[in-house]
Amino acid sequence: MSPSQDDETRPAPDLVQLFSGFLTLGLLGFGGIAPWARHIIVERRNWLSESEYAQFIGIGQVLPGSNTVNAAILIGQRFHGAIGASIAVTALLIMPVLLVVVLALLYGRFAEISEVCAALAASAAAAAGLVIGTAIKMTVRLRLTPTAVAFGGAAFLASGLLNVPLLVTIGVLVPLGLVVKLWRRQ
């Protein structure tokens, strides 16, 4: 990773700061971490410049996995190698994992109350709507080409309606999409 483009000097965070930064991030990330990640890493902690951050997130997006978890790996790696990467990911995930278990235990204890059941069933319906809405919004904003719509439609049909294993869907569509992209560019 090349050093930052701008002249501003940024002291590298030590392992404790790396841990506390990502711990905070994990706790704040209600309804998605991405907006908080930028706020903490770029503005509050000043670990990376805006463009470095965008680059890390971009790489995190191309690779499989949650892009924030991937960004934690890359940021930890950049400052402290393998130890930094492990510390950053552990810090990011530990509190959310504990909290979700606490929530599940509470649910287990109060599941007999019909209001709790009804509220959670309705939330599950809403959660499905959130995901559908997100996909629609992304599709509208991306202004996809007809070819892209075909690839998106195929991915949707295979995963959403036909119950095709993900390995097959991705194994077929991603190489095909890559070939089409590279071929068009020539």
Binding site: L74, A82, A119, S123, F151, L161, V174, L182
Partner: protein, 179 residues
């Protein structure tokens, strides 16, 4: 016995880790297929409930996998599931990310990124539909899903509001129309 189930958990989730393009939301159909159809660890309704619990917690959406591990095999299951879904893609990012970071504008990477965009979107839509099929058993639930989708499309407000309103609607329904 317990060891077998931990191996099964690991085997079910680890391959998904490196197929998780576009974040956790794209693997929900595969998760549902593995957990409900193949291993029969829980019913479709229980799956939908766990998803709702995971959504209510802060942090990345991938928590649903940890929660499934917990539900299936307690603390050991939680750890097996969490490591299985995170470690493979983290290792991949660690080793490939450093190389890619040095050549962020190379034609290959950009082509791959562009090719992944519509596929990811399609997978997320597929996830939403699989979840809706698991969660929507009556007209109210269907209406809540549709209204929430509309809320996301037409506003940029915090999604937690939609979950809160839906929960209240569910409670109100119990009192107004007892089944």
């Amino acid at each position: 016995m317990t060891k077998d189930i931990l191996v099964a958990i690991f085997g079910a989730f680890a391959p998904m880790s490196v197929l998780m393009f576009g974040g956790a939301n794209s693997i929900i159909p595969e998760l549902h297929r593995q957990v409900v159809d193949i291993h029969a660890w829980m019913s479709s309704e229980e799956f939908a409930t766990l998803f709702a619990v995971a959504q209510a917690a802060p942090g990345p959406n991938i928590l649903i996998v940890s929660l499934i591990g917990w539900q299936v095999a307690g603390l050991a299951g939680l750890l097996a599931a969490t490591v299985a879904i995170n470690a493979p893609h983290c290792l991949l990012t660690y080793f490939i990310g450093g190389i890619v970071a040095k050549a962020p504008t190379s034609g290959w990477v950009r082509a791959l990124k562009e090719a992944l965009v519509p596929i990811t979107t399609g997978l997320i839509l597929g996830s939403g539909v699989v979840m809706a099929r698991a969660a929507d058993h009556d007209l109210l639930a269907l209406a809540i899903s549709a209204a929430t989708a509309g809320y996301v499309v037409f506003t940029s407000r915090n999604p937690l509001w939609a979950l809160a309103v839906a929960a209240l609607a569910g409670i109100a329904r119990v009192h107004l129309l007892p089944l």
